[in-house]
């Protein structure tokens, strides 16, 4: 039995950066969501003021897609994620209603200080093959096409785009608080693409056919009373900024270390190797920590992005999860990346889970259930979109639709998805959300991965062998 009624109004609310200001706004306009705060553990909220209004808390990146596909009538998220969607699907079902007058920073196009680029016009004229790193691949592609760049490659990343130039990217399209903030990272701001404000968005069909007026009016009353303000930050094209150059020196061997949840255990592991590492611990995080080994360059990036970066030769070695390696290999089966050995921390299970109410106990029963026409198509939410795709194909589940998520896939079940493929440590979260594990796809832990060509290179193999021996010493 689904919690939501067909005629109720569904609102998608953001986690993360906009949670706090959005909670303030909702309190001011008295929408009746007292439980919406950064302390809340639940995903689903009911309005105490409007009985027909329900909300769900989602990752901000997921909101524009979820509103566009019609799972939500209204949503609040940043203009960057809205434009990232609209630039690819301009005729889609996502409609911007109004800016909510809060937000921070802008999406900028920036150049590496080493690339010798000082203006966007130069990009069209040159015949270079530009590497563009970004969390916004659609915005970046549109920019490159409109600039008539002769040749470019876009590397979508989960985060830490600022860490890639100059060695691993020539340009980046990224969020920054201001031009000065960007320049501090050793980058040259070329253009501000758009300010990142929070927006109220709607599904086109809902707007055309459903009475959302009471809810929209609540927002409007506040916005009319408080005229639109500009959140533009200071301009960022001063010559001073352009003169900034990061201290960077090419290294013989390049290693990527993980940020986020994996950082603390990875730093702990590193201590056991006996190698000195400055700027990388549970408490301290800089993008370029240093070691006593002068031939070793280290960068801290997202573990999700590492296999692709190692495949490209941007890094020779990386500490990532087996799950992300497998995700990469499902997408690029012939990729020159291999696992050297597991490191024994960050162990999780990658599972397929469904609602406890779904009458299936295993994948075979699910196949029959889908074939009987009770779910057409089976909607599967996953962070591991390529693993999920392969799993469903290999198990002959048809038809199915994948819903890419940015984590917390459990929030999607049962209203917006029928199944999830995600990682679990204990399974407690799944139980709390009335979900059951139907299949364990594989177990994953942190591992050392390497570029096969680097391993075979006479210039690199001895140093890579030395480093991997040191890391082996860290194994308990």
């Amino acid at each position: 039995m689904k919690d939501y009624q067909v005629d109720c109004i569904k609102l998608a609310l953001p986690k993360g950066r906009f949670l706090s200001p959005t909670a303030n706004l909702l309190a001011q306009i008295d929408l009746g969501f007292q439980d919406y705060s950064d302390k809340t553990k639940q995903y689903r909220l009911r309005s105490t003021r409007f009985p027909s209004l329900a909300a769900k808390i989602l990752q901000e990146k997921d909101i524009s897609i979820q509103v566009a596909v019609g799972n939500y009538d209204l949503g609040i998220c940043g203009l960057d994620w809205i434009e990232e969607f609209l630039v690819k699907y301009p005729a889609g079902a996502l409609v911007k209603i109004s800016s909510l007058n809060y937000g921070e920073g802008s999406v900028h196009v920036v150049a590496s200080a080493e690339a010798g680029i000082t203006s966007l016009d130069e990009l069209s004229a040159k015949r270079n093959d530009y590497r563009i790193v970004t969390e916004y691949p659609n915005l970046a592609e549109t920019l490159a096409l409109n600039l008539r760049m002769r040749r470019f490659r876009i590397f979508p990343v989960w985060g830490a785009a600022e860490a890639y130039p100059p060695e691993n990217a020539d340009l980046a399209v990224l969020w920054g608080k201001s031009g000065a903030y960007i320049a501090k990272q050793g980058l040259i701001p070329l253009k501000k693409l758009l300010p990142v404000t929070a927006f109220l968005v709607a599904n086109r069909e809902s707007l055309e056919n459903k009475d959302l007026s009471q809810i929209v009016a609540c927002f409007s009353s506040k916005l009319i009373a408080e005229p639109q303000t500009s959140i533009e930050n200071e301009l960022d094209s001063s010559e001073e900024l352009k003169e900034l150059t990061p201290s960077w020196q090419a290294k013989e061997i390049n290693l990527a270390l993980p940020d986020g949840h994996q950082q603390a255990p990875a730093a702990q592991f590193w201590k056991r190797t006996g190698l000195v590492l400055q700027g990388y611990s549970a408490e301290v995080s800089i993008r370029r920590p240093s070691t006593e080994l002068d031939w070793l360059g280290i960068k801290v990036i997202r573990p999700q992005d590492m296999p692709l970066q190692v495949a490209n030769g941007n890094f020779d070695l990386a500490i990532t999860g087996e799950d992300w390696l497998r995700e990469h290999l499902c997408r690029f089966p012939a990729s020159p990346v291999k696992k050297l050995f597991a490191l024994g921390f960050g162990t999780v299970k990658i599972v397929a889970a469904v609602s406890q109410e779904m009458p299936v106990a295993n994948i075979d029963e699910l196949r029959s259930f889908v074939q009987s026409g009770k779910l057409t198509p089976l909607k599967v939410a996953s962070e591991y979109i390529n693993i999920a795709d392969k799993y469903l194909r290999d198990n002959h589940i048809t038809p199915y639709k994948l819903i890419p998520t940015w984590g917390a896939s459990e929030a999607f079940l049962p209203e917006d998805a029928d199944m999830l493929i995600d990682n679990v440590q204990t399974g407690t979260t799944l139980k709390q959300h009335k979900l059951k594990i139907m299949d364990v796809l594989f177990r994953s832990s942190a591992c050392l991965i390497a570029n096969k060509d680097s391993l075979a290179s006479s210039d690199k193999k001895d140093k890579m062998e030395f480093l991997s021996q040191k890391l082996r010493a860290g194994l308990r």
């Binding site: 016009d121 490659r153 990729s335």
Partner: protein
Amino acid sequence: MENQKCKGMQDLLPEDMLRFRRIEDVFRTCCRNWGYHEVRTPTLEYLHLFTATGTLTPSMLSKVYSFLDWDGWSGERVVLRPDGTIPVARLYIDNLSGQELARLFYVTNIFAFEGTGKENRERWQCGAEFFGGTKFAPDVEIILLAKEVIHRLGLSNVGLQLSHAGLVKALLKEYKLSPGDEAKMTNRILEGNWQALTKMRSTNPEIDRLMAALLGLKGKSSSFLHNVRASFPKASQDFKSSLEDFLNIATLLDKLGCSYEIDIAAIHGFEYYTGICFQFLAAEKKIGGGGRYDKLVPLMNGEDTSACGFALYVDPIMQLLPLEKEKKSESGILVQGKELTPETAKTCFAVAESLRDAGYSAELGFTGREESDYRWVVLVSGKEPSPFTLTDCIQRRPRYIGASMAELLKVVSEG
């Protein structure tokens, strides 16, 4: 039952394929007769072939199907071929650039996203490209070749419109826009938005007058271009040289008795054209177009090679062609067993094989087919001494009953 076809894609049914093959056959025959050689390019090409200025406009590029291949970890994107000419130019550069002249033709599908899903996202075209050669004679050759294909297909009331990309670019230069604004204006013009240009005032009233004349008047012969030349003696050198090229082509077409309309606005879609541009219209639909693109080959790192070409759009032409049913009734033979036993089926297969070996189209009948669709029907009873009955479907009477395959073939051959 729910339609399972991908949005924007089309199935070609037997009747569609009859039309399709007719277009293709006529096109291939004409091209071969003119000395063109058939080529075929792959469905996938690298995206970067299409991104430089002078290839596809940003608006067209926003509709390409691009993705990373299974080995695309380097970030190099590939596309489903969005255009016919650029891949053939790439083929020429990679393989044939040593030749002084290359006349090439192709029948291919191209892919472009279309938002509503009601129009085709996969479209077919028959194209011919002429690499090398001097100006205006190859331009006229490709126009006449395209016209011959259209004529042989039996399409009537097809209009030919001429424009000139060099002339349009020279005019645009007169507005003295910044490079960025000029690029934007070019894109608008290529999308058919001429109003954007007419709304803009030039600093030179002579240019406004020239633009108004070119957009307002439709010439029907080279005399019109002579008149333009005489009316605007102060036009730029670029304009004059493009006009001269246009005049040469128009004059030759006049001499060859090829009628046309000069419409400066008949240029849209492709950024790579540098000289003459033309399009064919039938029943208000664009059924083909082409032009000269001298800068494309060098832009793609090839040698400085002049080139021109055209494409006929198969999908709108198919809608205009009358359906010609397969004329099985002229020669087709249906072979069927009186009853379906292993013995009669074996004889049916053997009879049909003998007929096909003798050059006839012989179809096996397992269900009650309409005999009127065929010239002959052979009914196999399998019983000696007369295992066959041959029926003449035109005269509607049995013509032969006997045991010999040779005799059966004799009757069929004599009609």
